[in-house]
Structure formats: structure tokens, C-alpha cells
């Protein structure tokens, strides 16, 4: 049973075609890593999944609901799909605790005490319970990104999207974020991760995809992808990145 189905997804920015017909399916609990050179459309594609970008052709079905312009649908899907951004995008005017509890309280209409309890639990899980009352500006990049993961998880999402979560981090902070993501993957979360961290892909991914120029050029298991790629483009990409 696949939780996300995409069929012939196409997307244009003005004259530039960013996605040239992407089709894929993801099963529940699967961890998918998407890599590719910049401008290949990988970020655009996962942003289409929770409709931060609108696709113009094709269809995307998330958890049985097709993505259309219907606002109610979009809000329901966004509540089910958590997203972690490259630049964290925490709310700077709220404390870490408020950042995490905001959506459960206002969107899920949960009580404050329940949400705070759950938020503490999540902060423990990502390893920074002591930072609950600080403001995002007072945290390091790695800590901020872990708060962002906790914020997305607070909504009990069925799917987590990661849009280059480690690209804006200093090298020594990448590990702490990746650890949190690995732990999440092991707990059985459905994840789509856009990243250049090939170590992460090797270790936890169920499948790896390579995007180039708006097309999916290779889809493979991690072992095959790294050791025995089918496509020449993949070989070139791997030779440049590794």
C-alpha cells in the first residue's frame, strides 16, 4: 500500500520547466533519499508533495487525498506531512517550546498541557530538553534544526519531508542532526530526504533516486546505487561527489 503516489508530475517556473514528468510511489515506512545536482528539481518535487509549490500537470495523491486547489484538502495534508527546511525556518519570536506546541494547539486543537508534555518528550528524543525555554536565536544551527524536526513531529505526521536539512550546517553539527534523522527512520517513519549526505543514504535509505534536469534518471537500492549504478549520469554524479 503506497502512501504517496505521483504520476507524470510536471511543473514550470515561467518558461523554465523544473519537473518533466516525475512518477513514483512510496510505501508506508519507507525511507527514500533523493539526490542530484542543484537545479535538478529535487527540492521542487518534495515541495510539491505538501503543496508549497503547485504542480501544473499530473497528479499527486498523499494518503488517499489528491492534491488540488481545495484549501481544506491542502490543510489536512499539511497536517499529516511534516517538513524540515534547509534554513530551519523556526519562528524567531517564540521560544523553542512555543515553536513546537504552536501547531498542536492551534491546528490540532489539543490542550496546552498535553502539547507541552509531548513537546518535552520530542525534545528529549532529539536530545535538547534543556533548551525548551530559549529562543531560536540563542541556539546553534544543529540545535535549531533538531528543534525544527521536533516541531514537525509534534503534529504526529505520517510522512516527513527533509529538504536538504544539513546543507546550512557547520560540519561538526551535521552529525547530531543526522543522528536524530536516523533514529526517526528506525522508528518506522515514512521519510523523503533530499540530501547530499551519501553516508546517510547508504546507512538508512530503502531506496535512492537521482534527479537530473527535472527528470528521475535512476532509482535503485542503496547498495546497487553506489556500487553498481545503471546510468552514466549517476556514475558521473557519484564520481564528483564522493
Amino acid at each position: 500500500m503506497s502512501i504517496i503516489q505521483a504520476k507524470g508530475v510536471k511543473k514550470w517556473f515561467g518558461d523554465f520547466q523544473a519537473l518533466k514528468g516525475i512518477s513514483m510511489e512510496i510505501a508506508e515506512g519507507e525511507v527514500l533519499v533523493i539526490c542530484g545536482p542543484s537545479g535538478s528539481g529535487k527540492s521542487t518535487f518534495i515541495r510539491c508533495i505538501n503543496r508549497l509549490e503547485q504542480h501544473q500537470e499530473g497528479e499527486i495523491v498523499v494518503d488517499g487525498t489528491e492534491l488540488t486547489n481545495d484549501l481544506k484538502n491542502i490543510e489536512t495534508i499539511r497536517a499529516e506531512v511534516g517538513m524540515v527546511f534547509q534554513s530551519f525556518n523556526l519562528f524567531p519570536h517564540l521560544t523553542v517550546m512555543q515553536n513546537i506546541t504552536l501547531a498542536p494547539i492551534w491546528v490540532r486543537k489539543k490542550s496546552r498541557s498535553d502539547s507541552e508534555e509531548k513537546a518535552m518528550e520530542l525534545l528529549n528524543r532529539v536530545g535538547i530538553p534543556e533548551q525548551a525555554d530559549k529562543f531560536p536565536g540563542q541556539l546553534s544551527g544543529g540545535q535549531q534544526q533538531r528543534v525544527a524536526i521536533a516541531r514537525a513531529l509534534a503534529m504526529d505526521p505520517k510522512i516527513m519531508l527533509f529538504d536538504e536539512p544539513t546543507s546550512a550546517l557547520d560540519p561538526e553539527m551535521i552529525k547530531e542532526v543526522l543522528d536524530a534523522m536516523k533514529e526517526l527512520a528506525k522508528s518506522g517513519m515514512t521519510m523523503i530526504v533530499v540530501t547530499h549526505e551519501m553516508g546517510f543514504a547508504k546507512e538508512v535509505a530503502d531506496r535512492v533516486m537521482l534527479f537530473d534536469e527535472g527528470m528521475m534518471v535512476e532509482e535503485n537500492t542503496p547498495v546497487e546505487f553506489f556500487d553498481n549504478p545503471k546510468n552514466d549520469r549517476t556514475k558521473l554524479f557519484l564520481s564528483q561527489i564522493l
Binding site: 490543510e75 499539511r78 506531512v81 519562528f91 519570536h93 504552536l102 491546528v107
Partner: protein, 600 residues
């Protein structure tokens, strides 16, 4: 001790005399400031000046011609405002505590200032007498200088010693407000100033026994202070009740309307009108609202709901142009708002229940306020409006920010909206309002506005000025806030979207708080401008604070002749304006600091 002085001296050397240029600047500016102060002091103290011209006309300054028999209404208005402030300060009482040495430090600095000015104040001053000769007189004799110097010196040294003593006693910052306020309250019972009395020929004599300052107002002010304190304790007592904070916030918006329509106006109401007009209208609208909430989940109603909203909106617009009671027009507008909110809120039984209660309360409040505001006033003021002097300035200033601020927020959001019609209308309003001078708008309010209003709708001149003012400062607020909106990075919108927030939540919880925070300094400067610009209403014949200082008192020769004492009055007016704007800007700095927590 010696170390402290050495350290201070080094600091002074570094900050003021670090180079030749800065030394020249320091000495030059100190010379200018000092001379200005000495001149000012001589001016204030010279016997040529008649400060009674200010003191004796305080009533005129505050409320102009408002009849004395109704003064209790003014006091109730002021008192209510203080009670509300007290409750609010109590409810939002901060837990910040300061050590008592902070307070000593403040008094020590004040003492230093007074000490400095006592030393540099001039002994003699010269002014041009009526006959054209320069008169030189002694304004600050040696004996009085020494008489002042010694106690001030003692007090300053005392506070200096106290502040450097590490006393382990701290107080709540909110409590300190009351401590500081109690000082002027105590002073009005102690400090004595001369007042004027007239002899049989209506000539003025300065009576010998000195009267305490503000003799007629010291009792009301003290009562208000006590009420202020009491309401503060009430606020603290109910601090934990969360709902009360929301009610208080809404009440703050209703307070000026209440003061305007019931307390200041003294409405005269006929019972028959209430029975045949207000009560039936209330019942009809309540029934419509009740029916809407109860039937919303009915499938047939659901299907045609958008048509229903359309009908209500059309009826509201039509209502403005046909002659139905004012109250019905306002209720229609409220109903339009209500029916658009109902579907979103009435999803649960609990939501429905609160909706019905809110609807009833809103209707009653509206009826109550409109009945007061639309009635003939029972207060007869000869030849002018019931607002004048400081009460008018204050009303315009409060209104200038109160109504125009939300209006500005709406206009700014509208201008950024994706809907073309909303965007065009908002942009149009902003550009139209901003491109015409305020004075032109005031003339518009006094002369032309009546032509644009539908037949049968008439407003008092002050209300028209308020409407124009609201739009004028609203447009400026809107542009400031739009600047703030543009400073929000796109990622914030995306993050809010990604956690499933609705557009309203996104605006209210994420975008506006950050946008407003970014533009607090410009918002405050707009508010200060609105406060000062209120003096322009003189041009259409309203008597604001400044106008009274400038003309009224100067021309007034009955019962006491104060002709030729404009300057005293103008200085007084300037000082009052300065006190209010300075307080405002200090407050804003505090707010900025408090809200700036999130920034690094």
C-alpha cells in the same frame, strides 16, 4: 572610594576628551547648553513673568468650556481609565524584580541634576521692560542658593551612599510604578502655590496664605490613585484567570467608546424610543443570529449558505442608503461579520454555545453604545463642542492610534493581499489619503464630508474629524506595517504553511507579531506625530490644548487680565506635550527591549 572616582574620571576622559576634536565639541556644546539653561531659568524666574496665567486657567486648559456642574463625568472618565490600567497592570504583572539600589540610583541621578542646576543657575537676569529699558533683577539670591544647595547636597550624598551599600532588598517592577506615582500624589498635598483672588473692584490681589497646588483637584486625584491601587490588587488577585485577560483586552477597545457615548455626552433617552426601537431590533437580530447558528449544520442551509451571506452583505450596503434606524444599520453590519465567522467556529457544540453568547453580548453592547452616542447630549456648552482643551487633544491622540492602528493593519494586509479587488481598494485608500495634506482633510471633514454621507446621516464635527484622523494616521500606519511585512522572510510563511496553519492563523500568530515588532520605532513615531498633529484642528475652529494656550487665555481679560502673557502659556503647553511624547517614546523603548528577547 578613591578608586571609584579614578575610574569615573578615566571614563569621562575616554568618552568626552579622547581627542582634540571631541574636546572642542564637548566644551562647545556644554557652553551652549549651559547658556540656554541659564537664559531659560532667568526667563522662568523673572518677576516680569506671570505664571498665574497658566495656573489659574488650568480648568480651561483641561476641558475648555465643559460645564462645571458635570465635572464628575470627567473625573469618572479619568478614574475609569486608571481603574482599567490598574487591573491590566495587575493581570499582566511581570515577575521582574529590581534591587532597591536601582531606585536609589534613580534618585541619586535626579539629585545630581538638581545639584548641577542649583550651582549653574544665574543670579541676575535681564529683560526688556514695557517702557523699552532693559531691566536687570536678581532672580536667585545667594542666600536661597545656599539654602537649596545644602539640603540637595545632603540628599544626593545620602542616596549615593545608599546605592553603593549592597542592600539585599528587591521589589517588583510593577509595584514600583505605584511607589513612584505616590510621590506626586503626596506632593499635591504639600507644595503650595499662590492663587488669585479678586477684590470688590474685580482687581486681582495675590492673597497671602499660599494654597496647596491643585487645590480643587487634589481630592479627586487622591481618590483616583487609591482606586488605581485597589484595582491593581484586584488584577493581581485574578491573575491566574486566563479568560479575564481576553475580556480585559476587549474592554480596552470599548472603554473610549463608553466614555465618549455615555459619560462625556450625558445622553438623554426617551423610554418610548427604547421600547419601540432598541428592544425589537435587538430581538430580531438576536433571533436571526440564533437561527443561523442552530441551523448551520442542516444540509439545505449548508447548500445555500453562501447565498445567505451574499444577501446579508447586500442588505448591509443597502441599509446605509435607506432610512432605517442607525442601530439597525450597525446591527446589519455586525450580522454580516457574524455570518461569515459562523461556519468556521460552529463545528462543535461548545463553539456553538459560545457563539450564541458572544452574539448576544455583542448586540447588547452595540445597542448600549449607540443609544448613548446617537442621543442628544444633555450637556450644554455655550458656543462650542463638549470637547476642548486637553480633553480634545487626548481624544484625538487616543483615537488617532486606537482606531487607526487596527485600520492600518487591515490596510497593510489588504495591500499585500492576493485578491486583486481588495488590493486595489486598499492601495487606493492609502494613496488617496496620503497624497492630500492633513489640513485639507480637516477642511474636508468640516465642510464637505456631510455631502458625501448618505441623507439622514449626520455627525458632529468632532466625530467627522475623528473619522478623517483615523483614516489619515491609518494610512501612515499601514505603510509602516507594510514595511514590516516585507521584512518577514518567505521561509516563515512556508514553515507556517507546512505545519498546516490556516491563512488567518499564519497572519495572526506568525507574520503580524514579527512584522509589528520590526516596526515599533516607526509606529511610535507615527503615534507621536498623530499626537502633535492634533493641534492642527485649530484651523477648523476646534479649541485644542495649544489653541487655548495661544489665543484663549491671551485674549481673556475677564475676570483677570492676562494679556501679554503668551510666552508663559506656550512654554507650559510645550512642556506638557514634551512630557507625553517623551513618556511614549520611553515606553516604546522598554517594549522594544522586552519584545527583542528573541533576537540575538
Amino acid at each position: 572610594m578613591v578608586d571609584v572616582i579614578k575610574k569615573k574620571a578615566k571614563e569621562v576622559q575616554e568618552s568626552l576628551f579622547s581627542s582634540v576634536g571631541s574636546s572642542v565639541l564637548t566644551i562647545g556644546t556644554s557652553y551652549l547648553v549651559l547658556n540656554f539653561f541659564r537664559g531659560m531659568f532667568g526667563f522662568v524666574m523673572s518677576s516680569d513673568k506671570d505664571w498665574l496665567a497658566v495656573l489659574n486657567n488650568m480648568q480651561l486648559y483641561m476641558v475648555q468650556a465643559y460645564p462645571e456642574s458635570d465635572f464628575i463625568r470627567v473625573w469618572i472618565s479619568v478614574g475609569l481609565t486608571f481603574v482599567f490600567s490598574g487591573v491590566s497592570i495587575g493581570l499582566w504583572r511581570s515577575d521582574d524584580r529590581s534591587n532597591i539600589s536601582v531606585m536609589f540610583d534613580r534618585f541619586y541621578k535626579l539629585g545630581l541634576g538638581v545639584l548641577f542646576f542649583t550651582i549653574v543657575a544665574p543670579t541676575f537676569t535681564s529683560y526688556m521692560g514695557n517702557d523699552g529699558y532693559v531691566i536687570t533683577e536678581e532672580v536667585f539670591s545667594r542666600s536661597s542658593r545656599i539654602g537649596m544647595l545644602i539640603p540637595v547636597l545632603l540628599i544626593t550624598v545620602g542616596f549615593f551612599l545608599l546605592k553603593n551599600r549592597k542592600i539585599n532588598f528587591s521589589f517588583n517592577n510593577s509595584d514600583a510604578v505605584f511607589l513612584y506615582l505616590s510621590i506626586p500624589i503626596a506632593l499635591i498635598w504639600i507644595i503650595e502655590l499662590p492663587t488669585i483672588q479678586l477684590d470688590q473692584n474685580k482687581d486681582r490681589i495675590i492673597p497671602d496664605p499660599l494654597m496647596p497646588i491643585a487645590n480643587t483637584t487634589k481630592v479627586p486625584w487622591t481618590v483616583i490613585f487609591v482606586l488605581f491601587l485597589l484595582s491593581y490588587f484586584i488584577g493581581i488577585y485574578f491573575k491566574e484567570v486566563k479568560r479575564l485577560k481576553n475580556i480585559m483586552s476587549i474592554s480596552w477597545f470599548l472603554l473610549p467608546l463608553l466614555i465618549f457615548s455615555w459619560i462625556f455626552k450625558k445622553p438623554q433617552i426617551e423610554m418610548a424610543e427604547v421600547l419601540t426601537g432598541d428592544i425589537p431590533i435587538f430581538l430580531i437580530f438576536f433571533a436571526v443570529g440564533l437561527g443561523t447558528v442552530l441551523l448551520i449544520n442542516n444540509p439545505i442551509v449548508k447548500k445555500y449558505y453562501s447565498i445567505y451571506i451574499g444577501v446579508v452583505i447586500v442588505a448591509t450596503i443597502a441599509g446605509v442608503f435607506i432610512s432605517i434606524p442607525m442601530l439597525a444599520k450597525a446591527c446589519l453590519l455586525l450580522l454580516g461579520l457574524f455570518v461569515t465567522v459562523v461556519p468556521a467556529v460552529s463545528t462543535s457544540q461548545q463553539g456553538k454555545k459560545s457563539l450564541i453568547i458572544i452574539w448576544a453580548v455583542a448586540l447588547v453592547t452595540l445597542t448600549f453604545l449607540l443609544r448613548g452616542g446617537a442621543s442628544e447630549t444633555g450637556i450644554v456648552v455655550p458656543g462650542s463642542s463638549i470637547f476642548g482643551g486637553f480633553s480634545l487633544t487626548w481624544l484625538l491622540a487616543i483615537f488617532g492610534t486606537y482606531v487607526s492602528f487596527p485600520l492600518g493593519v487591515l490596510l497593510a494586509l489588504g495591500r499585500n493581499s492576493k485578491l486583486p479587488i481588495v488590493r486595489i481598494i486598499c492601495t487606493g485608500i492609502i494613496e488617496l489619503v496620503r497624497s492630500v495634506p492633513y489640513i485639507t482633510w480637516l477642511f474636508f471633514a468640516s465642510v464637505t464630508l456631510a455631502v458625501f454621507l448618505p441623507a439622514g446621516v449626520e455627525f458632529n464635527l468632532i466625530v467627522r474629524v475623528l473619522m478623517v484622523t483615523a483614516f489619515f494616521s491609518g494610512a501612515y500606519f499601514a505603510e509602516n506595517i507594510r514595511g514590516g511585512l516585507q521584512s518577514i522572510p518567505k521561509g516563515q510563511y512556508e514553515a507556517a504553511d507546512a505545519i498546516g496553519m490556516s491563512p488567518f492563523q499564519k497572519i495572526g500568530l506568525i507574520v503580524l507579531p514579527q512584522a509589528l515588532r520590526a516596526v515599533i520605532p516607526t509606529l511610535v513615531s507615527s503615534a507621536i506625530t498623530a499626537f502633535k498633529d492634533s493641534s492642527l484642528v485649530t484651523i477648523i475652529g476646534l479649541f485644542d490644548f495649544l489653541t487655548i494656550g495661544k489665543t484663549v487665555i491671551d485674549n481673556q481679560s475677564v475676570p483677570v487680565n492676562f494679556v501679554g502673557h503668551q510666552r508663559e502659556n506656550l512654554i507650559f503647553v510645550a512642556v506638557v506635550y514634551w512630557i507625553f511624547t517623551f513618556t511614549l517614546s520611553r515606553r516604546s523603548m522598554k517594549i522594544e527591549k522586552r519584545l527583542g528577547l528573541g533576537e540575538r
